[in-house]
Assembly symmetry: C3
Homo-oligomer: 358 residues x 3
């Protein structure tokens, strides 16, 4: 149960209180089409605003482009009985308000913050206010920062470090010596610090394992989705910079260096020793080959294959990758039966001209 | 050790007892080429039937298109010493008979049905005849239906519900508030209810997390392979309808709605807010973009990319997706060195005609 | 802290001691550009050798094509103060030396080799010198070979067998009756022996499960990366031969037979009943369809789709797959805006010739 007052008290720069009672109460958040008398609603279009008002939604957060109805004075209810906030970005407003409705930390609450079934090595150092879930395993000399949460069944091997406020969901693996920064969130079944894939072929065609003695170093505010795998470096560090966010099923090979504030959609894969700058975005299922360099502010569409360096900021897509605008034309040509038609046309022309087949 | 009588007593509409002793005994099931005197064999071709008879297989289940040898009277052994059943679908006959040979539930048997090492919250409700394996974690107010099985190391967070007869293998994650129907089967390392991938970009290019406060709702008779990930909705529900089956490594993003009785092969990925109807099939590694609608009875071949709505039932494939028949022609043109040849031919024609390069 | 003497005492056929003190000591291994006075360095190029010498690296392992500076006699320090080894393959030299610097087994060390929290069935047989980590679950009649390591939270179901010296990392699943050979290494969150994906459609479009009563059989010296899934066979065996190495996220469907000494990069997927010979290599994200045969010594590039048999050794790529050389030309033609240009050229020629559109 959240009051408008609590929202106003967030003092978020992405939210402006406009009008209506600060005692208005919402118990949940739903899309405009499901608005009801106890539902907070975010609206970015006029018809959504109308739906919210019709349903007498108690609190409405509206994009500033919408004109709000009949305001009363700031501290009094407006005519609609709805309390209004305005925002320049509905998404940022959601980022600010939804934590109030997210019971996420309740999942980890338990009678004793450190669950008695957890297996914690006596040399491990746990900061203050750390949660450790049932059956978590925390190895020798591990360091866990203040206010960190370690989910049930998560394994953190020896000498790994976890930053302050980082939330690791259940069933995550963090290998020996790996480092996670502060304010990260790691989803279930993600593997951090398995071996890089590296074998030395003998003359007989047998592959001898090259031990991977490096580690993974992850910055602050990094989020990794479910079932990802970030391999440890051969000798040094596989790195993911501050603020980078990855969806489910991302694969980061050994010695990859990824910069800051990137976004990778589900199934992104990047092979060994490649580097990505900062402020990049990658669509789903895109693959980057090994030893490739991608600079800052590059966008690559989904299902692409990047085999060569991308040294200029911009939007790209395809396999081989080309500027996005070109790729849209390529795809438009490729589909719709065009290719076989082109082939036929060429045969027709050659026949018409009496040219020889080559 | 299964007798022909036990198979007859299944009273399956997909099986007709033809002839031979009901006391015939098989201890295992193998393909026709490995038939032996203790092996039940399914046959759909004449040479398979021959192989089974030559090996004196005790029980043969034959497709009805095959003519069986020299029957005796129904209650007496036939001349071959083999007991015969007929079926209109060997696959359905396998679905009916193989559970008799599948020791799957033996994997979960233990002295005490609820393993003493499991960590079960006192407010959780477990139905009758529930198995809970070692180190399973069952959170506050979870509800587990009758005859459900919860594998070792599986984590079921608070307020989640699991339907009757549902089998969850070891090491599965079911997040808070998620709902699974009855008779489902979920394989290891699958993640149900990790956060949807959603961030609000600031002007500085930083991505602020939008909490995902919705859930996942899965119908009855759903099967999810190993290492899948089904994300919880932003505000509402990610849904998978009754009878839908997914292979390993499927990714279902937040707010996706999937209908009933679909089949998704390994590596199927579908991005946020897309919807799939019922009775569809998707080949391996196919990707569906966000906000796409696919109607009922659509088949999409493997390695396809669906970026636009598919509003007519039928078979499709490719990237961009096109009708399957067209795509087969596109692929036939694309490979085999055709494309470079076409390019050369065009250059040759342009030269021949004395046209200008553009 | 490793001395040159210890390295010499490896008696590796891939290493020749050349000169310098055998008391030289290295505490770590880093790439040449990070060489320092306590760092062992592998060098394959002249500038790397120079960097290592400038940094006074105590031990240098150099490719035999490089000429080493001013040797002293074999048992005395050379002029540089560096101890030199030569190798015909830097990779093989790394495979030989890096285990000395790899603390991997330290991750598994614990006061009691069999962690008291592990849940081991009384009928399971453990060989000598076996490690079992916290919360591991080992089922009825499982057999674990000598010197095997079972990581924390790993589940090994009934009747499975694990060979000598095999290392299973934490959070792995090995299903009932599956067999792993000796000297294997299996990374976290890998699923061995989930059900193959097999359903019998009814006339009503409902899919009935066909139980999968086969198993997985894995040879010796096999490595599986993190988050892989190897499905059990329908009736018989899914097989992976000796020495085959798979990267993260590989998917091996039921009844697949994979030979020896293959290398599969991340995201390799192979559908049901296909077979791969020996000494093959597959690039990342490559998909092989069902019932396909691939012979020995085949290389398939990344992002390829193999829908038909490959019956001749050689290098291939693309979708549809073609000889690698052809595919490089196909890709060169496909990208760079060529395809739309070709289409325009054809239209231009048709217009120029006054041909009818077809």
């Amino acid at each position: 149960m959240i009051t408008a007052e609590v929202i106003k008290d967030l003092h978020s720069s992405d939210l402006t209180y406009i009008s209506g009672s600060l005692q208005s109460v919402a118990t949940k958040v739903l899309p405009p089409e499901l608005a009801d008398k106890d539902v907070l609603v975010f609206v970015s279009k006029a018809d959504q605003l109308e739906a919210a008002l019709k349903a007498q939604a108690p609190i409405v957060v509206a994009h500033k482009s919408l004109s709000l109805p009949a305001h009363g004075s700031q501290s009094l209810p407006n005519d609609t009985g709805t309390t209004f906030f305005q925002t320049g970005s509905v998404q940022l407003a959601m980022a600010a308000i939804l934590p109030l409705f997210d019971g996420k930390m309740n999942r980890f609450n338990q009678e004793e913050k450190i669950h008695p079934s957890a297996c914690i090595h006596p040399t491990a150092h746990l900061g203050k206010n750390v949660y450790v879930g049932p059956f978590a395993v925390i190895g020798e000399h591990v360091r866990i920062g203040d206010y960190a949460t370690i989910g049930a069944h998560t394994v953190i091997e020896c000498y790994a470090t976890i930053g302050d406020h980082t939330l690791i969901h259940p069933q995550v693996f963090v290998g020996a010596y790996c480092e996670l920064g502060a304010h990260c969130e790691i989803h279930p079944h993600t593997t951090i610090g398995a071996d890089g894939f590296s074998f030395a072929p003998t003359r007989e065609g047998v592959h001898k394992k090259i031990p991977q003695i490096g580690k993974v170093v992850i910055g602050d505010w990094v989020e990794l989705g479910a079932n990802c795998a970030i391999d440890r470096a051969a000798l040094t560090e596989t790195r993911i910079g501050n603020g980078t966010k990855m969806d489910n099923f991302c694969h980061i090979a050994h010695n990859v260096i990824i910069g800051e504030h990137n976004v990778m959609a589900a199934g992104f894969k990047i092979a060994g020793s490649s580097t990505v700058g900062s402020h990049c975005m990658f669509g789903g299922d895109t693959v980057v080959s090994d030893h490739v360099t991608i600079v800052d502010k590059v966008i690559v569409g989904g299902k692409s294959g990047v085999s060569n360096d991308i040294l200029k900021p911009g939007a790209y897509a395809g396999y081989p990758v080309e500027p996005l605008r070109d790729n849209m034309k390529t795809l438009a040509t490729f589909g719709n039966g065009n290719l076989p038609r082109m082939r036929k046309d060429i045969a027709r022309i050659i026949k018409h001209l009496g040219l020889k087949e080559e």
